[in-house]
């Protein structure tokens, strides 16, 4: 063995290198305060190890990036752990870098002859920030997409070359496949390559000048190995423990819904860029150039000049004050940004929606149909559970309520002036409608012109329902049968079993539709169409297929169609004919109102 190592040494001279690495003299002996560099080197090792493994499962394109990250996160062995470690190690690295920089400046380790090494260190800091920025976009989720969009729009404001520079950075006029391929090349190729170069140069120069020992010395000089190495390894252990604690505490790295340019998202950067986000709010007009480019560039310039400033009499003190101010500003702006968001109801609401979307997309991606070839964005876009309430809140909630709310769980801006559509089509909903105590309330026709028509007159339907007040018990029973029959037309998923069980009752109800209820003069058929027979009046809806999917879609397309209200329509717009909603959007809101969306089958059920 010895002979073999000797052979190797004569050809490589490795022993000398190992000696230099392990037995470097540490003046004043080992100290805990020297661990920062090693802790950072360890972080970088973690990032390379986890990053390369993530690379093996990642696919950069706008139809596969989110999908492959989802697969890593949810399906692959320990994928959540790997991604979690990569994510939180990056965060911790930022903190450690700032601490390392603070120590270097406080200990005056940036002055001659270590200026160049200080610059390398700063270079590493900015490389790590660039890695964070590029990495943030790679999952192609809503969070990364919108935050990075703001960041790359700042590139565009650079004087003269901004527009072209932005195009080169994002690979076109808008975000797409080439944004990802470019960001990935930067994140996994260019930046790590530069990082290695700078680290080697940084450590080489560090060894060349020796450690900037803290005086007074407490002990005699010792070599690096083993005492300082032991301390460094304990530090690495602490770093790893912190990373794992963060991963477990937060349950891995977050993955929001797939990027969708058509879906609004409250864009926020990750915490370490929140100060810049807040800072930008203070610059008006084209002053954004100052907030986004000139001032940050000036600060960076000043950081680079610190070794020279430090030479002057009060220079070091200036540097310290500058750095503390910078840190104070960083903490203050970050705090302000978060505090404002916490108080911003709109933001909190938007974030809650985003959280729901993120949860829902997991359910859809895990469904037997899986993620389609075109990517996961279409899953949410075509999901009634996600889109229904959004469309309802946007287009319907100015008149209709959904359980008293706007569909998304918010209070209505104005009292509803059209029926509450929660449970529409169900027996319960219809029973309320034909209840004389309810029909004229805000839940049904209260706000419509059917109740207050032409100076106080009521529509024939409202009058009819009011006339049901003194119905005999038999009449009540018959009314319930008619309700069951009409409601059965809706073929609601939630009532499927009930409708099947009550088929006889429903048939009786259907007959009563023709014959009328005991004690009431008019029969339903006198106005409404039923069972294929068209309405006898053009202003009353045909109830054949009432509130079935097809019926509702056609109704929303054009309520003034003779099949529905004709000229008797109140204010309901023809959403389909006017082009306010596409047929697909109408289908989504209808499916949502009817309670029809994908739900996972409980695996515990037999």
């Amino acid at each position: 063995m010895k002979a073999l190592l000797g052979w190797l040494d004569r050809r490589t001279g490795y022993k000398k290198i190992v000696n230099e690495i392990l037995f470097e003299n540490i003046p004043g002996g080992p100290r805990w305060r020297y661990i920062w560099g090693s802790a950072l080197t360890f972080c970088i090792f973690v990032q390379f190890a986890t990053g390369i493994m993530l690379w093996m499962a990642y696919s950069p394109s706008s139809q596969t990036a989110w999908e492959s990250v989802y697969f890593i996160q949810e399906e692959m062995n320990a994928g959540w752990l790997l991604r979690g470690i990569h994510h939180y190690a990056a965060q911790l690295m930022t903190v450690l870098l700032i601490l390392h920089l603070m120590q270097v400046v406080i200990d005056k380790a940036y002055t001659a002859p270590r200026e160049v090494n200080y610059w390398f260190g700063l270079g590493l800091l900015f490389l790590v920030m660039a890695l964070s920025l590029t990495g943030y976009l790679l999952p192609w989720d809503q969070k990364g997409y919108w935050a990075t969009k703001v960041a790359t729009n700042m590139v565009a404001i650079t004087p003269v070359i901004g527009e072209s520079l932005q195009k080169i950075v994002i690979g076109g006029a808008d975000y797409g496949h080439h944004t990802l391929t470019r960001f990935f090349a930067l994140h996994a190729g260019v930046l790590p390559g530069l990082l290695i170069l700078l680290i080697v140069a940084h450590i080489y120069l560090f060894r060349r000048h020796g450690i900037k020992a803290k005086k007074p010395f407490r002990r005699a000089d010792t070599p690096f190995w083993p005492e300082q190495v032991f301390r460094d390894i304990v530090a690495a252990l602490a770093v790893m423990a912190a990373i794992l604690a963060l991963v477990l505490w937060f349950g891995g790295a977050h993955l929001s819904a797939p990027a969708d340019p058509a879906e609004r998202y409250p864009a926020r950067p990750d915490w370490y860029f929140m100060f810049l986000f807040q800072f930008l709010k203070y610059f008006k007009g084209e002053g954004v150039l100052w907030g986004g480019i000139y001032i940050p560039a000036f600060i960076v310039g000043l950081l680079f000049l610190m070794p020279f400033i430090g030479r002057w009499k009060q220079g070091h003190r200036f540097n310290l004050i500058f750095l503390y101010t910078l840190l104070g500003g960083f903490v203050y702006l970050t705090y302000i940004a978060y505090a404002k968001d916490a108080k911003d109801g709109e933001f909190q609401f938007a974030q809650e929606q985003a959280r729901k979307d993120a949860e829902r997309i997991r359910v859809l991606a895990k469904a037997p149909a899986g993620i389609p070839q075109g990517g996961a964005t279409s899953l949410l876009r075509s999901d009634p559970y996600t889109q229904g309430p959004k469309i309802f809140a946007d287009k319907c909630a100015s008149c209709h309520a959904y359980g008293g709310m706007d569909g998304l769980g918010r209070e209505l801006k104005e009292p509803p002036s059209a029926p509450d559509l929660k449970g529409v089509g169900s027996r319960e909903w219809l029973a309320g409608f034909v209840d004389p105590d309810q029909i004229a309330t805000a839940k049904y026709f209260g706000g419509t012109h059917f109740v207050d028509r032409d100076g106080g007159n009521q529509s024939r339907m409202v009058e009819y329902v009011m006339g049901l007040r003194d119905l005999s018990p038999r009449g009540q029973e018959e009314l319930a049968k008619v309700v069951a029959a009409v409601s059965a037309q809706a073929e609601l998923k939630s009532q499927k079993e009930l409708d099947e069980a009550d088929s006889d009752l429903i048939q009786e109800g259907s007959d009563l539709f023709w014959d009328g209820i005991t004690g009431v003069d008019e029969a339903c058929i006198d106005c409404h169409g039923w069972d294929g027979e068209e309405s006898s009046e053009s202003r009353t809806p045909d109830l054949t297929g009432w509130m079935s999917r097809e019926y509702m879609i056609e109704f929303i397309k054009n309520p003034e169609h003779p099949r529905f209200y004709g000229s008797g329509n109140d204010r309901m717009p023809a959403y389909g004919e006017e082009g306010t909603l596409t047929v697909q959007q109408i289908g989504l809101v209808v499916d949502w109102l009817r309670g029809e969306w994908y739900e996972p089958v409980d695996e515990l059920m037999p």
């Binding site: 706008s62 139809q63 919108w146 969009k149 703001v150 729009n153 700042m154 565009a156 404001i157 901004g162 527009e163 072209s164 195009k167 080169i168 994002i170 690979g171 076109g172 006029a173 808008d174 797409g176 496949h177 080439h178 969708d260 340019p261 058509a262 609004r264 409250p266 864009a267 986000f277 930008l280 709010k281 203070y282 610059f283 008006k284 007009g285 084209e286 002053g287 954004v288 150039l289 986004g292 911003d344 709109e346 933001f347 938007a350 946007d394 801006k413 717009p573 023809a574 959403y575 004919e577 006017e578 082009g579 306010t580 596409t582």
Partner: protein
């Protein structure tokens, strides 16, 4: 003159090869190294012609110059090809924006409340073509005088999406708090945005169809400049 230069270059290269080929041969012969190699001392005697100081100097200069020139030249093809591909996005233009049918006039109430519409069009993303996909959104607002305003929802500050705020009766960007006038789209005095919302061309055709020329504009600057 040029011919002479190449002659000199050629002879220099030849000399270099003749001079060093012996060394190369020795190195190759010693791949199986003995414990102590005497490689350093085994140089062949230098030919008399090369030993002349002026020749040696000239040869060295030529080799240096040749190395720099050739070294630079060999790097050109990969770097040039790489840069050409990197710059490819600059060559691609989106072409002139077309009018898109958005809705019917009847869908717009005349009370000045804006309505949001998604714009669908074919989208080319590198190697993929996405037919009839959502490419953006606009707010349409019909005034009592019948005039229709169309605004792109993209905030001209840094590109988030603005929303219509019922409570304040304005457009508002949740990112950096830019606010815009509902009537004109101009930015509120304390807004960070450098310009007002980007208005779009609107026309009414075929008896009440609202058509909008959808475009995106460069954010962050005071001038409204279309992204092409």
């Amino acid at each position: 003159m040029e011919g002479t230069f190449f002659c000199i270059q050629y002879s220099a290269a030849k000399q270099f090869f003749v001079c060093h080929s012996a060394q190369i041969a020795i190195v190759m012969a010693h791949t199986n190294l003995p414990e102590k190699t005497k490689l350093e001392n085994e140089k062949e005697p230098i030919p008399e012609e090369d030993a002349k100081p002026e020749n040696a100097e000239r040869r060295e200069f030529m080799i240096k110059a040749g190395s720099v020139c050739l070294g630079g030249a060999v790097a050109i093809p990969p770097i040039a090809a790489g840069i050409a591909v990197l710059m490819d996005p600059l060559r691609r233009k989106q072409g002139d924006a077309d009018f898109t049918r958005v809705t019917l006039l009847d869908a717009l109430t005349e009370d000045g409340t804006p309505k949001k519409f998604t714009i669908y069009a074919d989208k080319q993303d590198a190697w993929n073509k996405f037919p009839n996909t959502a490419i953006g959104a606009i707010y349409l607002c019909r005034k009592s005088d019948g005039k229709i305003d169309a605004f792109n929802v993209v905030c001209p500050h840094l590109g988030c999406a603005v929303v219509f705020r019922e409570s304040e009766r304005d457009y508002y960007c949740p990112c950096h708090n830019s606010a815009f006038d509902l009537e004109t789209g101009t930015q509120a005095p304390d807004s960070p945005s450098a310009r007002g919302l980007d208005s779009l061309e609107v026309k009414v055709e075929n008896e009440g169809e609202v058509w909008v020329k959808f475009q995106n504009f460069q954010p962050g600057i005071a001038d409204k400049k279309a992204i092409v």
